[in-house]
Symmetry: D2
């Protein structure tokens, strides 16, 4: 499919009022755009309206510039924050890991087979362990040690993010806490996988906490990273059933599949522009 | 909430083309209707478009007649099949049972507590067993024996359906096969619960079939009834995990919860006008 | 089945060591008992051993007294806490409620249909709302108001528990906190349903907490009641998927099915003598 | 852990009768074996008894030969089919694939990380596509084309199975039907993943069948291979929820995760000696 015929995705956030859908849909019709999928939601609590529309442009070349220029007055009228995304331009994702490889392996597999339609710009780690796995997939591995000088490591990370023109950072079991500053700078652009069913078992060693508490289900939570550790907006959660025969180590093993699946889904929703921030919650337009 | 301010639901089926959403949304805006929830889907295979929009009418009285008159030209233009539903008018549901009471009990509970916002016009059965349960809920119980004279029984059923001005028949473990004629007459208006994960284990005694086959999950399927037994369009399916320690009777017991939940969901989706027939499939706009 | 041929269940807790299963199984064989189902588990952490064996006694009359006398030396040798349960003697269950009826309705249904093989000794409530539902099932309803004089209410509750010879109290959405004293006296004999996925959202209004936090799954937890509120040993947990369109009220409605199913399972496991206390955890020998 | 102290697993199948558990447990106690995990089940339908006991031998060297010699009279007495498995001896698994790599990738990952404690003897394929993935894991890849001469290909397969001293063949989306002869010869030693929820959608292109039928859940089934295609004893099944927006291709993509997880579980249960054939069903002693 040539880029000018490829589907585009329009995402909108604005104060809720009468007539938004009519205006947007009317505009798309006038532009001869065929809507393939469209979702919208008005949050009665926050008064915010969210919309995601995927459309294609069957005849003639599509020009993002002219589309945007024509759409600007509508956007201004409704005080919209909006973006137009070309689905042929792959989102650029920077992955960060430490030593655990189950989430990385899963993301690399989905990347390699095209299930996850992204460009992985690099894998950054504070350890060397996952270099070989990364490089076999033809992806650059960067070792950024943290020990001793965290500010220096973080400065390097920011340089890498900028230098690789990445759109998103995925913490695929990266075991270091990021500074408040970088969390704030990159709001909505860092996804973390926490290995518990948040808000249960925040903090360290959640599977050991779960074992001590004797829960019958364990889980994983993918969320945006904020300065408030383990409190960022939740994107996806998955649970697995366990029982009394599972030791803390068993729980850790059982949880790995849940973590990998949860993170993969959250990344997929994000790069397909299905996730919207709505205060400390998210709106996720799942397929 | 007074009726004239209550939410209404507009449902539309028509051939897919550019501009439908724009036209409908534009119309609603011009009528000062505030959209509360809206979903649409174009089936690329069948070329059909489906839309469900729930809106409220904040100022002045809403008149279904004037709304319909104004909407008629748009509907004609796009060859729409459409309906307008007042959410304060409770769908009228006729329930049919034999001897098993788990689905009936569940429906009556949801009815009694308002979870399922319907009017139950009567419970019809070919046995007397469930009279007391029905009548305690203040609902009329009608015994329509089938043995010997099926056509007479079916004629009586049709008279009851018409006489009670019912919109929907729910077969809540009714163990008689309906005639092709009534299935055809009431297409899309009869929901059945089949106690297996269709298309596995069609026909009689599905839990015994499941036991013989040694499956590790059993299920239930709610579907519209067609002349083709157990082949009607599926609305909802649920499964439960089982293992080698479960006898056929155990499977039957385990399956009851799945059946009740599956049927309750299907009825809820139907009476909220969330289900559309799309050939032999359904489009279900779940919340 | 006459009582003397009915299955019996032997439950054992003792320090783990070599030879327990051999001794118990050898004893049962010598007594001509046929094992129908047997489970055991040694907790490497606590050093405790747990065993549940269901057996029948095919020939001649079974005498609990002579069985117990013969088993006593083995029990003493291994320092066992043990019980012998006749499966024809229905466990006597006292249910406590406030105004919500979904858990009570579910328990009554399972009781009425024999799915839950118990005797319900009475339903006690601090409100009058659920009298009619209870009495229709032929069960005594007792109104024990709490307002003003909690100690008096609790004294009355204890008198009812004793007077009805109940074995178990089920808090089926009873909205009052019991005193430390009664929690301690009846350790392992009071089951509560908490409407969240513990340890997430302890305390009041968990669905509202869940809404604020924006979780993607909500849950219910059945646990034994201890003096430490919402911290008692967990018996069973169930979750349901939700999304951004669900208000706090919607979450409450969605959660009801999960609560009812979770509580019914926990009660079933308990009355089938499948649950063992293991410190602050439980061992549950599920089918 | 030195081999002589490592856990061993004893598996037994025999006609059910009184005293089997007592005899086996008594024997283990006399041999000073400490039982770590034990499960047994008597199938009232088939009259067969199944037992799996994992035990360790804390003091002195364990000798499989002397254990077996001592156990032989008990085994003979109860007409047991039995095996003793050293858990330090890794099961030798031969994997067969065609072009789809999701199941292979998942098995290789679990193998590489030790989650699946097996030796992969080789990967055999009728295509060359998956050579690179296999060889990167340090595993031999063998191309055995089928086109034209199926008997020759199968003879070669049997030679590879014997030559590599494999214990199990895993068909990880191998798209050729094996001959009746090899299925019979290797009864209980070949595991296949079928990409549907059997017995629904047997045969070719199950996701397309599922799409046509409009199901709301799709699934995967791992089963032993028998001469009767898609009818072999089921080991494990998993389902995923889908809806009307999923095309047949979408279903295929959604199903991949279910297939990989289902197959990995079945292989794990098998190599941990948790699966027993019970006529056309299986007994699976899950953790």
């Amino acid at each position: 499919m040539s880029p000018e015929h490829a589907p585009h995705i329009l995402t909108i956030t604005c104060p809720d009022t009468i007539g938004i859908v009519a205006e947007v849909a009317g505009f798309l019709r006038d532009e001869k755009c065929f809507i393939e999928e469209s979702s919208h939601f008005g949050d009665a609590d926050t008064g915010q309206f969210f919309m995601r529309t995927q459309f294609c442009y069957p005849e003639g070349g599509f020009s993002a510039d002219s589309f945007s220029e024509a759409f600007a007055p509508i956007a201004a009228n409704f005080s919209m924050q909006w973006s137009l995304h070309d689905t042929t331009a792959k989102p650029r994702v920077l992955i960060m890991v430490s030593k655990h490889d189950h989430c990385l392996n899963d993301l690399l597999y989905r990347y390699r087979t095209g299930t996850l339609d992204i460009e992985i710009t690099a894998v950054v780690s504070n350890h060397e362990d996952l270099r070989e796995l990364t490089e076999w997939h033809g992806i650059e591995f960067m070792h950024v040690p943290v020990a001793g000088d965290k500010p220096a490591a973080e400065a390097k990370l920011k340089a890498i993010f900028a230098g690789t023109r990445s759109d998103l950072i995925v913490l695929a079991r990266y075991m270091q806490v990021l500074s408040d500053q970088i969390c704030t700078e990159l709001t909505g652009k860092i996804i973390n996988i926490h290995h518990s069913f948040l808000p249960g078992f925040k903090g360290a060693r959640p599977y050991h906490q779960a074992y001590e508490r004797g829960v019958k289900l364990i889980g994983a939570t993918a969320h945006y990273v904020t300065a408030d550790l383990d409190e960022g907006p939740i994107i996806e959660q998955v649970v697995e059933r366990v029982n009394h025969t599972h030791s803390a180590d068993d729980l850790t093993a059982v949880g790995r599949d849940a973590e990998a699946i949860t993170l993969a889904r959250a990344v997929k929703y994000h790069v397909e522009h299905r996730v919207f921030l709505d205060g400390n919650r998210t709106v996720v337009f799942r397929q």
